[in-house]
């Protein structure tokens, strides 16, 4: 478990302290995929670098499995960092080393593995990220997605318990992003390691994260299970991110709503209820007529969800509401 206890970070610029992270409390559970989402400059990059002390905090304590890492000596810190893998937006592979040598690099630095151990582990990891036939190529000969796979294999080399992902998919095209995210999800499930992932795309969070923290101006403004934060965003920044990821133009949406008649409801289905033929039976039994103003059916990690904005005219609204509630559908009355 990663615990932030009043952790803060500020930079000295020209004698003045510029805060990058306001005092923050946070707990990341072992084995979960934790997303940190925020615009550039929100402090998420600083936050993830505090976890392996690439950026030392200027206040507070960081506990990893109940050990305060801020008190580590340089050699303790180096040993600790071997247990924390990290992947980067621009991959940061050594251009002078082959794919296999890049993956072997952290093991060689550790100085505690034999040559055969390193060779076997590299072979195993190459197979894990499906790059076996590229072992002797140089990074410049690979595509972006392949480079990030090398990055992931390298990060896993010393069998870390935590994997930090710094905008790991931001430089990749949508298709490659999907395959890299799938790889990360597989790794999380199979190896049980904790993944902390920072991104500016809510979509990435939606696909792989269990919980998410939303950051704005050096503060965590909202934190919770992805389905909660995603389907019922509270903070304006969170709403922006959700709308952005769903390609919803908030203004346009408002204009559309003004044109509609009757009551306007937003229904949120989660899990099995997503597939129920609910709308038809509600309309029949309550006599309500409805039209769909906007809607989306998708997955949050492995859970299906649907969100529909409806306008309802006529009939008995109370019966309709009761039926929605009975079917475990979350109803928000917009008008």
């Amino acid at each position: 478990m990663i615990v932030f206890d009043q952790v803060q970070k500020s930079y000295q610029v020209g004698g003045r302290a510029i805060p990058a992270l306001q005092p923050t409390d946070m707990a990341i559970e072992t084995g979960e995929v934790f997303g940190i989402v925020g615009h550039s400059g929100a402090g998420k990059s600083t936050l993830v670098r505090l976890i392996n002390l690439l950026e030392p905090p200027t206040g507070g304590r960081i506990l990893i499995d109940d050990e305060d890492i801020t008190g580590y000596s340089p050699s303790e810190l180096r040993a600790f960092r071997r247990k924390v893998g990290m992947i980067f937006q621009h991959f940061n592979l050594l251009s002078s080393k082959t794919v296999a040598d890049n993956i072997a690099f952290p093991m060689k630095l550790a100085g505690i593995y034999s040559k055969t151990e390193i060779r076997d582990r590299v072979e195993e990891l190459l197979a894990r990220v499906s790059l076996t036939e590229h072992a002797n190529k140089y990074p410049s000969q690979l595509s972006g997605g392949q480079k990030q796979r090398v990055g992931i294999a390298r990060a896993l080399a010393c069998r870390p318990t935590i994997l930090l992902c710094d905008e790991a998919t931001s430089a990749l095209d949508p298709q490659t992003t999907q395959s890299v995210l799938k790889l990360l999800a597989d790794i999380n499930r199979e190896l049980g390691l904790t993944i902390v992932l920072i991104t500016h795309e809510m979509d990435v969070v939606r696909r792989v994260c269990d919980r998410v923290a939303v950051m704005d101006a050096g503060r965590v403004v909202e934190m919770g299970p992805v389905s909660e934060v995603f389907l019922h965003p509270q903070h304006p920044t969170t709403r922006d991110f959700v709308f952005e990821s769903e390609n919803i133009d908030n203004q346009e949406l408002q204009q559309d709503l003004e044109k509609a008649d009757g009551r306007i409801l937003r229904l949120t289905f989660k899990g099995e209820s997503t597939y129920q033929p609910l709308l038809g039976s509600v309309a029949r039994e309550s006599g309500v007529d409805f039209s769909i103003l906007s809607g989306r059916i998708d997955h949050i990690k492995d859970t299906p969800y649907g969100q529909l904005t409806l306008s309802l005219v006529g009939g008995d609204l109370d019966i309709a509401m009761k039926q929605f509630e009975a079917a475990d559908v979350h109803v928000e009355v917009l008008r």
Binding site: P74, R78, L109, C158
Partner: protein, 221 residues
Amino acid sequence: MEALLSNVDWTEIGWASWDTLIMVGMSLLFSVVIGLPIGVLLFLTGKRQLLEQPVAYSVLSFVVNVLRSVPFIILLIVMIPFTVMLIGTSLGVAGAIPPLVAGGAPFFARLVETSLREVDRGIIEATQAMGASVRQIIFGALLPEALPGIIAGVTVTAITLVSYAAMSGVIGGGGLGDLAIRFGYQRFQTDVMVITVALLVIFVQVLQMVGDRLVLYFSRK
């Protein structure tokens, strides 16, 4: 043809070429051995680098700048007492090497510093995140990544040393420069001058070609 190059003593030219080769080779070796660690230190102690040390950086940088700002022809003369102290003479091939190193090492150090700065900071960060010590970062990541740049630096330094070595002929340094000054300049033997210049041009061309090949070979970008 015979009349055209009547003053040219080919044995003499051969020996002078050999001397130039030795002067450049030896001074290049020492320039690299001394300049490389200085360049690495300059880089590491620089602003926002791994071992940021403003005072150490300023001192080192100042020394390098002083040596680099003295025109080589002056450095040759200023160095004479020191050279005599170091190897017993300031003349000949051996006497030319200390001033050549004094001119070449700081030059090479700056080139090393520049090529290390070209290394992507992300690579240093990634290596740090793997738990590497500063020593491991230098030898495992920085130097291998900067290798093509450093080799290009060696080439430029070697070529600079060829011209410096020729200049050392002025204080009796030996080699092709010495030949050019004693015969070509002082005895008006234009043919000797032409031959030495031609040889120097060929020498520089070969160095550049070999250097470029090596850079290409080690570049993986």
